[in-house]
Symmetry: C2
Subunit: 213 residues, 2 copies
DNA sequence: CTTTAAATTTGAGCGAACTCAATAATTTTC
DNA sequence: GAAAATTATTGAGTTCGCTCAAATTTAAAG
């Protein structure tokens, strides 16, 4: 049987997290004090800090939830993408963007991203960065899959190009969360223009272009 | 004649900034307290906040200095770029990276970027974002120039592609400042691989490829 | 040169994240 | 089952960014 201590530990951990996530989403990160979270979880502030490094650590739980679901969703697209390059990329990226407000608000995304950059080399940042890397890998996988199917030029470095695409979709997402009034549709449109340009370059040489030698 | 008031104002502003920049670079952003800056500038904390919105505003001065010099440097590259696409892009981007540690350390960059994201819609963020936009424009201008010279495919959206390139170089720079042990050479190598991929796609149809119709 | 008005400086005080020595609860030992 | 040892909780206290009412300095008016 699990000892009383272990059981209480699990329970408290869960209660603190639940309280934090609820309050963050309902009032925003900055407006919620650690004291409020502790009170809602019926523990003292000291205990809260016994379970989590800092306030940001609590936020990471939400982010992880969000990104892991997004990754799962992406698997299907990579497995059998549309035959058109731009369409395939927009489907994957659009899936990321559409899911992005399931658990997190723009403010929470901003905070999470800021913490990741500022407090680099902390567990928080490293876990966040690992999620980013998983997303990059997924984009690379899609590019490779498009090449495998002969839909995209095979002579280009799929990993390098996948990184470029992830970097640009991520940077555009940062701009999106920075502008409170920008809609997801506007974000998608801006990225679609970039995807269009890349898709044109990446198009497999068709009947109108052919090596001479 | 400039009144006593105006003269003292200019002097104090300058003294505060100088003190902040010196202390930031020598001890790091977090380690320096606003009280320390005020003391070094021989004013009270209240006065410091009369001249600057907040601690981050002081950092912005350094960032602005850095980016404005970088932009100036880039003008020459855009005006007469090397004939090779990859070489031209790497020259511009390498120039950005090489200059990046002239006034700022990695820690200061991290802080500045984090503040820009977190405190979006503040003057700080908007000025930083404007600098980013200038850099994007410069990359776009280089792509357009390469097209004008017939070095790059002319049928692709130069603005969209320029944005993609800036986004990726910026994101890679973020990764760089996040890893304290990563060298500029390693950063350049990683970006060069991406530039290589794009340059291949962007190569103007040469003697070995030609439209059939 | 006073008096009045305007602008500027000042530093004690506030709020919120986080710490740590004292206390309490649980487990182990005999 | 009592005592000792281990582990966890607690909340007052510390720190630092930032504010604001009072005091001071400079400029303008009479």
């Amino acid at each position: 049987m699990t000892g009383l201590r272990a059981r209480q530990k699990r329970l408290r951990h869960e209660r603190i997290l639940d309280a934090a996530l609820l309050l963050f989403r309902e009032a925003g990160y900055d407006a919620v004090r650690t004291e409020d979270i502790a009170a809602a979880a019926e523990v003292s502030v000291g205990t809260l800090y016994n379970y989590f490094e800092n306030k940001g650590d609590l936020l990471l739980a939400l982010v992880t939830l969000e990104v892991e679901e997004v990754l799962e969703q992406g698997v299907a697209v990579v497995k059998s993408p549309p035959a058109d390059i731009a369409e395939a990329l927009n489907l994957l990226i659009g899936g990321y963007y559409d899911h992005s407000n399931t658990y997190l608000t723009k403010e929470l995304w901003r905070t999470a991203m800021a913490l990741t950059i500022q407090a680099a080399e902390t567990p928080f940042s490293q876990r966040f960065t690992a999620l980013d890397r998983s997303l990059t890998d997924q984009v690379c996988a899609l590019v490779a899959e498009l090449q495998r199917r002969g839909l995209a030029r095979g002579d280009v470095d799929a990993v390098a190009l996948g990184q470029v695409i992830f970097n640009t979709l991520n940077q555009m997402f940062i701009e999106f969360v920075k502008l409170e009034e920008m809609t997801i549709e506007a974000l998608k449109a801006a990225v679609a223009r970039q995807v269009e340009a890349l898709a044109l370059l990446l198009a497999a040489p068709g009947p109108s272009l052919r090596p001479l030698d």
